[in-house]
Symmetry: D2
Amino acid sequence: MLVVMKKDATPEQIRRVVETIERLGLAAHPIPGTQRTAIGITGNRGTLEPSALESLDGVLEAIPVSRPFKQVSREWKAEDTVVDVGGVTIGGRALVVIAGPCAVESYEQCVTVARAVKEAGAALLRGGAYKPRTSPYSFQGLGEEGLRILARVREEVGLPVVTEALDPEGVGLVETYADMIQIGARNMQNFSLLKRAGKSRLPVLLKRGMSATIEELLLAAEYVVNEGNPNVVLCERGVRTFAEHTRNTLDLSAVPAVKRLSHLPILVDPSHGTGRREKVLPMALASVAAGADGLIIEVHDQPERALSDGHQAIVPETFRFLMERVRRLAPVMDRDVHAPPTLFPR
Amino acid sequence: MLVVMKKDATPEQIRRVVETIERLGLAAHPIPGTQRTAIGITGNRGTLEPSALESLDGVLEAIPVSRPFKQVSREWKAEDTVVDVGGVTIGGRALVVIAGPCAVESYEQCVTVARAVKEAGAALLRGGAYKPRTSPYSFQGLGEEGLRILARVREEVGLPVVTEALDPEGVGLVETYADMIQIGARNMQNFSLLKRAGKSRLPVLLKRGMSATIEELLLAAEYVVNEGNPNVVLCERGVRTFAEHTRNTLDLSAVPAVKRLSHLPILVDPSHGTGRREKVLPMALASVAAGADGLIIEVHDQPERALSDGHQAIVPETFRFLMERVRRLAPVMDRDVHAPPTLFPR
Amino acid sequence: MLVVMKKDATPEQIRRVVETIERLGLAAHPIPGTQRTAIGITGNRGTLEPSALESLDGVLEAIPVSRPFKQVSREWKAEDTVVDVGGVTIGGRALVVIAGPCAVESYEQCVTVARAVKEAGAALLRGGAYKPRTSPYSFQGLGEEGLRILARVREEVGLPVVTEALDPEGVGLVETYADMIQIGARNMQNFSLLKRAGKSRLPVLLKRGMSATIEELLLAAEYVVNEGNPNVVLCERGVRTFAEHTRNTLDLSAVPAVKRLSHLPILVDPSHGTGRREKVLPMALASVAAGADGLIIEVHDQPERALSDGHQAIVPETFRFLMERVRRLAPVMDRDVHAPPTLFPR
Amino acid sequence: MLVVMKKDATPEQIRRVVETIERLGLAAHPIPGTQRTAIGITGNRGTLEPSALESLDGVLEAIPVSRPFKQVSREWKAEDTVVDVGGVTIGGRALVVIAGPCAVESYEQCVTVARAVKEAGAALLRGGAYKPRTSPYSFQGLGEEGLRILARVREEVGLPVVTEALDPEGVGLVETYADMIQIGARNMQNFSLLKRAGKSRLPVLLKRGMSATIEELLLAAEYVVNEGNPNVVLCERGVRTFAEHTRNTLDLSAVPAVKRLSHLPILVDPSHGTGRREKVLPMALASVAAGADGLIIEVHDQPERALSDGHQAIVPETFRFLMERVRRLAPVMDRDVHAPPTLFPR
């Protein structure tokens, strides 16, 4: 249930609605808007009648929210959410491009790639210190050492860092060293991890699971938001189908679908989403044309030597070309491209 | 096997290579190019040694073609195929937009929509006279009466017509009344129909089956081309997955995949590809950005009264807006948009 | 809409209900049952009120049929349909096993396999004369020559023959030479073919399409039945998924699903359904345990030399072992196994 | 690499092979068999030549293991693994049936269902204390209180308990109260959880992910085994496809596929695998016929009041009927059914 207050409702009236809701054993979530305040209700046991709340002073209407997701829905909050990552804002007019290596392999590799992607126009640096690998015998990432490298590169190059946490403890480590917590596709329904990320002060990049519906993706985001962290950015990264020409099938219609249902920003990862280097450029442009708020791209200076997923990484030169095309495309979509931050770290 | 002749090979030398191939019990397909002639070989029984042909005069090299599709492959013909549909060329620099109602319902409906889409910039008219419907109790199309309406609208409005044939006999009827034969997704592996279309003088629009791989799509095109009709345009229209936010999952990575493997043009159908009116615009733009040679869009003046698939048809006004956005997007892709023909019917 | 007559309704009363329905511009399909007659209505335009018919003499009730399929539904006909194929009945207590080579390759191959499978206990012979092949360069079957071989083997060995038709004309040829028309997975929604099969006197074996839902399978059957041929046997043969350990994913839950929704018999094809020889036996047993009315199995005396799909054919010896296991399993399912006919051809 | 020792190899010879392997910077895993000892090698950097090891005394041969999974493969260990769960052995001749409620809701509910399923012949009790739910607003399980209820019911009824852990800490709690750790489908690639379970003394029930290939399932098991816990039982529970007649598509061919590739036991969960109560019985029988080592079935005394997944739970009476059919079927598969333990808890 969502209670929409009148434009001129007083703080006192709002307080009384909240109290009434809580007296019914439910939780009230006031959402101040630019025009008016709305109050979300969660935990509705049984049938709470809208009329019971509509009779209170200052209430415009009480709307039963039919979708299973609530706080992430457009019904709950009509305006787009803009998420701040170390001063870079995702979800506004400017497209944000996150780039970097799949895995942090060494300081040299990381700083080389970071400089190249910043120069080409990336606003955020990505890089994995903890890698979820299908086989226990594959390179699992450098761990905390990788995080330390990322932090050092972050200072030196001046790009906020997005990196993955694999478990609740990992969130704490990412909080120490980085600017945004990535939750990977395999962990989209790792609810312990989602709840822990929901208690973090850092924004969360939540990737769609390999066979997750949009509803399940939004409900996973709801887990994070419901713990108190409203700063969630979604990411389409391909789903698993019978198709063989790409490693995953990039489902770009997820972008307008999410935009319609939710106020959260959504990026696209054409690197994992296709798994094929030569398809990254066309699918990156297609993502922007479909309405995505940005991209996350794997860049490696020597893809053939990458310790993981080298076949989908592009070289810095290709990335520069991609950024030029994105810059040409952005105005057609009535957008521009977010520049790298100039005063980072703050 | 593909035999590549030297640039200065004489007609006599080419003739002798063809004879040699045929003496081995195989079929030779000379393919004159702008620079040189290549000769495709089909029907290779067992192991034909390249060296047997490379020793002949005028032969540059003999290349074993590994892909199961041959005549539609880039290996066979490196240059893009451009298909002429009543004077409108698909596969060149200009993007071609095909638009019209899902089904022909009446002369009035058809001529109204045709005028509207031509005015907005569509270069070809679509409309179904024979509708493949999941249920025997659904509207199955007006049949030959529908074809007659299309032919009348074609004369009056001046747009070449694309329409579907459901069986070998239907191809003959489409030949009588229209300019391009559409083969629908459900018939992508109706080999009797493919073979009949391969004997037609009309170009063919071949839609990807709901669970077809790119290789299967190209092999279906190979059936048409192998019967002697080289004018095949492919079309991505969504595949079937677990996803629920769209009726089908539009697999835009099929566009760069086909471009890489084949010389045939490829369009995208975002109407069937999403099954949701509100997703047609973003996915149309994404299709162009992914590199498609054009679009096929369902337009209906009264979608809520459409006899089939009304929920995915857009109104003429939305179509005009879509065309404006496509025109803004085309130059970013180094393309322009094909205008409606001015002297049609010829 | 389905009108259920009272047990003691007179022929005169039934006739009057039919007339009333037809006067409303609809088609009436009387279905005499052992206890009572029901009358199906198709072509309902708009809202036909049940009460309009319930007021007629002899009518027990008028039931709106919600499912899009009607004549194949359990609501329409509660009792199991039993289909007679040259004296072999599919859908009764006895499990029917159809076996034979994927493609008819020669008289010798066909008669050898036919004798072996009959001896092992198969009641029907399968074998393809027209093969739908993904590539135009693959063996396409012997055509009418293959049908003649099947007819000769049929006389000699004494097994009714099931063979595939690829197009409307093919149905006529199958009618000349064989006992049951198979419609393959790729043609499940070839509506011209379905309609032609619906006009045949021969029973139809309809295979589920590679990405068809159960509802679409039943609606395809409805096309056949609606043309006047009630003798349809369905067949689960695997659907296309991301899984890689089998060529298709055999969806055995289709068996109880069809049994619940429809009165038509359903077989399972574990050969195509797995595409792997070594999985045919376990999946054949699983099919019977899931409630299938029988099996269709590819058997080849020299699978390694088969002209198509050799990797999924089992040898006669394995087939004998399979039949023994099926015979042990049948009584657990309260069934027995249909013996080969003794007086065939009649 | 797998080193196979001669039958008469001495402990001293085995020790020397292990030392040689470790001197090369690799890990050696001696696997004593009934006939001979094999020594698995993991961590092979680069190309370890088999000949280097074959020259040592007592070595029969050194086999390069090609599969990405090793310790769980048949190549590594040819004999079936038998896993002991509180005295009940999974993977031997006897089929093991695990039954109980989806979620532990109260002591009364749990003890009622436990008594009923034991009486009907279940050998192990299942019940969830921590429930992974798609929505944060759904019932998440009773937590540790649920585990305490399970432990009390375990003592009283005398059935070993299988219950799910959602995160590394949860494993510790399950170790305190239960007999087998379940890892659910959503957590199949939660590698932190897999590694923690690999350090447990309890056996692990590992469910296949919703879009996991068999190779990925076996690699997930490899994570557990590689940490030192060889007692892993796999479980097929349905994969996600386009099909709509069941919640998931139960992929029974996974059973023979796993049996061929791995020595680990595999169960089937027809409750989650279909999501539909009325399909549990036929698919349970089909699972056994496909060669599964047992079943896991949701039973609830009042499914319509269940706090989670009530639509797939069967009532005790149906479960008794299911057990009777399984007992009739087992001998056809040359198996019998494991009785409930008589002296449990030990």
